[in-house]
């Protein structure tokens, strides 16, 4: 595939040229899929979010003012797509969500760095996907997107304290599950003893 400059890609996508659109998709789809995986329930959900996000990018690319980072602009669209999905009525109905007051508070032991580095990536993704939706959204925005609690509160229409609680609770939840994942099974212990 030929290489194009960022400006060429933007111009080509503005004109609706499939070659440039495909190039842009292939250049960023892995990175943005990782973003979507963190917010989604499963891989199919993430795939759908990725498609929706790219559709929005291609539909709105003429609105990009070419001042800041193009990747940052696209990433923001992708994250907003994921948040819209989490906030959507159909998603809430499907999940029958209960928000903060109904969530259990995790009190497990914090995991060490080795456990976090050892865990398989797909398991790590699955653990993040298993977080309750709001905690997942707040945690992702805070840790991966660099939002402040104030920005998260504004974005998700919650208080800053609630945002802080979600981040802490998600962190504990993750650490507990990572520890569980790394806990040696009885069989492995038996094998180790022999």
């Amino acid at each position: 595939m030929p290489e194009f400059s960022e400006l060429e890609i933007i111009d080509g996508c503005c004109a609706g040229n499939r070659t440039y659109q495909e190039f842009l998709y292939r250049q960023y789809h892995t990175e943005f899929l990782k973003v979507c995986m963190r917010y989604a329930q499963d891989f199919q959900d993430a795939e759908q979010l990725l498609q929706d996000g790219f559709l929005k990018i291609f539909h709105n690319i003429q609105k990009f003012e070419r001042k800041g980072s193009f990747e940052g602009w696209m990433r923001k669209i992708m994250v907003n797509t994921c948040l819209d999905h989490l906030k959507s009525k159909s998603f809430k109905d499907k999940r029958q969500l209960a928000f903060i007051s109904d969530l259990p508070e995790f009190t497990g032991h914090p995991c060490d760095a080795t456990a976090l580095q050892k865990i398989a990536f797909d398991n790590l993704v699955a653990i993040i996907q298993s977080l309750p939706p709001t905690s997942k959204a707040v945690f992702n925005l805070f840790v991966f997107e660099g939002f402040s609690h104030k920005e998260i509160a504004k974005e998700l229409n919650i208080s800053e304290g609630t945002s802080q609680w979600h981040v802490n609770n998600a962190r504990k939840n993750l650490q507990q599950k990572i520890m569980e994942q790394n806990k040696p099974t009885e069989e492995s212990v038996r094998n180790y003893g022999q």
């Binding site: 499939r18 789809h29 976090l116 991966f144």
Partner: protein
Amino acid sequence: MDNKVFDQILRERFKNDTLPEQIDGWQKLSAMLPATRKRRSLVYWKIAASLLLVSGLSIGFNFLFRQSGQKPLPSGITGNQSTQIPTKISRSSAGIVQSQATGGANKALTTSSDGPSTPKKDLTGNTMTSSAWSRAHTPVGNHYDITVVSKSQTNKIILPKHQTSVLPGNSEAKQDLPANTHKAEIAANDHNIPVTAIDPPDIAKNPIPGSGAMPANHRYRATAIAFGGGMNYGVLNTGYNLNLTARHSLGRHIFIEGAIAFLYNGQAEKSSTYAVQNFLPTRPAPGQVSASHTTNPAASNFYYLSVNPSMGYQINKTIALSAGPDLQQRIASLGQDGTAIYTPGRDPRIIPQLDLGFTGKADFLISPKIETGILFRNGLNNLLKKPDLHPYLNRRYIQVQLKYNFLLGK
């Protein structure tokens, strides 16, 4: 573990690790994207350029045709009588002789070679006018301009060659002219030599037998019905057609035409990149999973019934331009039962069931009965469709036609 360290390790894992599953959702995504935006003005420019091209081709074709066989028609004389020998003309021109010349003017009619000074009569016994007589005595290939200067002063028939013969009835002969060199200046009293304009329809009613040329005013006939066929050439739209055309003249230049055609639209393309597939015409909404579809090898033929009314302008006796809407209804599809053409990297294009279009056509008359035509068609469905539908296949093609006029009415 410190929260910041935990967050940092998490970020690094997501940055450096690769996903276990890789997807290639481009095909699905591209099917959901709108077609390439085309500036509407560009489409109009293309139509205009195509019409210009077709017109140019027709005129060029006409020029070549004339070069190869026919002589150009003289201005002021409608028809091909200039190529006839006198006896034939007098026989066929009986209807155009208008009045008798008397007195000195009777002697005024003359020509260079055999110019008789007596009143000219055709085979029916009618006296010929100066113009008719002059035309009748014109050798093959010469071009005449006949100018009526003034009825009260001098009627002149000026033939664009270089000798002059003055009518003996009025003055002396300036010189003897060799055969086939003609310039006759006929000066006469206006009341003696009536010069009569010849209406084209009169000539059309009196075709010249055995001349091999078409009736001069074939196009001026009120109605004509033709049967024809042709080939379509266009990306994804190559095929053939059979048509029945009826034309009615509204005046000397303007006519209306209606055509009913049966078209075969072959989708069996040379390129293997095309495929026909079942596809919902509606674009999936954002977030909605696109319709599942089955993709088949590219081979599907479609049959359309076309109704093509048009209005036209007759430029001259052989060339006519016309334009009008074109309504085509798909009546059958053989091969794969597909509804959309799919090309990798492009939006699926729905094969229209009811296809609206615009046609521009140039007709060229070869003989009274046979004519050729070049037609350009552009589909208009995409201009009228709702935005949430996939684009239609633009059935744009150039059609080369050959028609036989089997009924020439009055």
